[in-house]
Amino acid sequence: MYPTPVARTSRPWRITYQALLPLALIAWLLPLIGVAVFSIKPAADFAQGNYWGWPSAFEGAANYALVFTGSDMPRYLLNSVLITVPTVLGAVALSCMTGFALGVYRFRGNLLIFFMFVAGNFVPFQILMVPVRDLTLSMGLYDTKTGLVLFHIAFQTGFCTLFMRNFIRALPRPLIEAARVEGVSEIRIFLHVVLPLMKPAIAALSVLIFTFIWNDYFWAIVLTQGSGSQPVTAGITSFNAQYRAAYHLMSAGSIVAALPPVAMFFAMQRHFIAGLTLGAVK
């Protein structure tokens, strides 16, 4: 193991390391800790210039309650859920199939199609802005959650196909060959042989895509406007306009907006990291 495990080093370094860990963590998360502290302070603290001192009172409950009752935040949160969940289902379903087709079959153009998915997924997606906005407008889906979901599914299919195809490639091939010899149809092979083995990949992709889509801001402001269809990342800016300079509320709002993917990460940590680091080891 590298670096040398602290257990095998001198006592002073062991103690130093144990002390350094929490200090480094606090320094690393300092900007976030600041916002967390802001969110439980009363408004009076900011009026009196007490930004970084001890809160004069703990108003956390009131601040967070106001986020949910005094603004469109619940609406935006619901929109985020209604955009994120269908996107995850759609992109994972489509890429299970494309990944299967590209990972199992040998045919002309296989690698070319695969590379098209990969290249399309790597483009700075902003360059799609003008045509995709026009496309969405002409289908009558501008400013609808459906319009946003359809684009997200299509774009995420690129990344998901890369992921699924490589995962399926690594599955034992004799399993599929044996099923074929027994006369099992290709559709049944997909449903009953390959799909059950893909569960870890499906879990990993689901949490990753959930986080990516929940945190999307660019497409939210390009394809939607207003509280009817915008997700919480875009909603937070209108929330902040509503409560301009009310730092305790803006902080509480930001934390509410950031929380779902964070909760998802901690609940599904193993899958999340497995998905993110696919390919980081040979």
Partner: protein
Amino acid sequence: MTSGFWKRNQQTLAPALFLAPGLLFFAFYVLFPILQSFQISLYEWDGLSPAQPVGLQNYRQLFDDPAFYTSLWNNLLWLVLYLLAIPAGLAIALFLNQTVTGIRIYKSLFFFPFVVSQVVVGLVFTWFYDPTFGLLNTLLGAVGMDPVNILGDPSKVTYGIIAAGLWPQTAYCMILYLTGLNSVDPEQVEAGRLDGAKGLRMLWHVILPQLRPATFICFVVTIIGALRSFDLISIMTQGGPFGSSRVLAFYMFEVALSEYGFRMGYGAAIAVVLFGIMMIYIAGFLWKMYRDERGA
């Protein structure tokens, strides 16, 4: 009859059927719009009235546009400075690659900034930099230094935003390296120790070669991240002050979709330039993948 045809040809038909929905979707929303961007860039179009073909005029105008050069220069700054996330991520990964109690929680918490939306990262850093109450200036004041208005100073603003972007990106690289370090061959490390390799020499000659796949992925995701930078700029400065923190992606959004006017053609021309820059990297990446596939 039909089932007989299916039975005989299913090996050829199945891949087409499985590919069709995903590929059509992807072509419709991603591949086709890329080509459309090229086409629209040859028109003057406000998105409503009929488009007027203008040839290469949008591009000629682009080369005389100081805002374009500012954006291009800032994109280069992003590309170069964003790479700092790689050594920084490696350093934190080496720091955390231990087995003391509670280390798993530490690793998760260090990774935290990556999971948080960039919108929130932008807000958090805007307040962190705030000249009147921001934590940065409070700390600077505590050691007797003058306050700095990072986001209000055209010569500092892009660096300030990049620093904010490095925060989640470093966390990303850290997690990639932690996974890589997990699979470093312990026998090689022990052999290196017996040969007297220690510290940085060990890192350079024994560890880093084994981390090559992780380093490669770090490069890919960091370069893509740098070229996609938009959210932080939009949240922290709206491209200001005086347009000094724009990048190509943001400038394109401004000319095509904001109060500055709806110049779709001009925006598409900027998109084409951005695409050209990215294509250099995509081509390199695909070339490496192609070689790996041939080798496998």
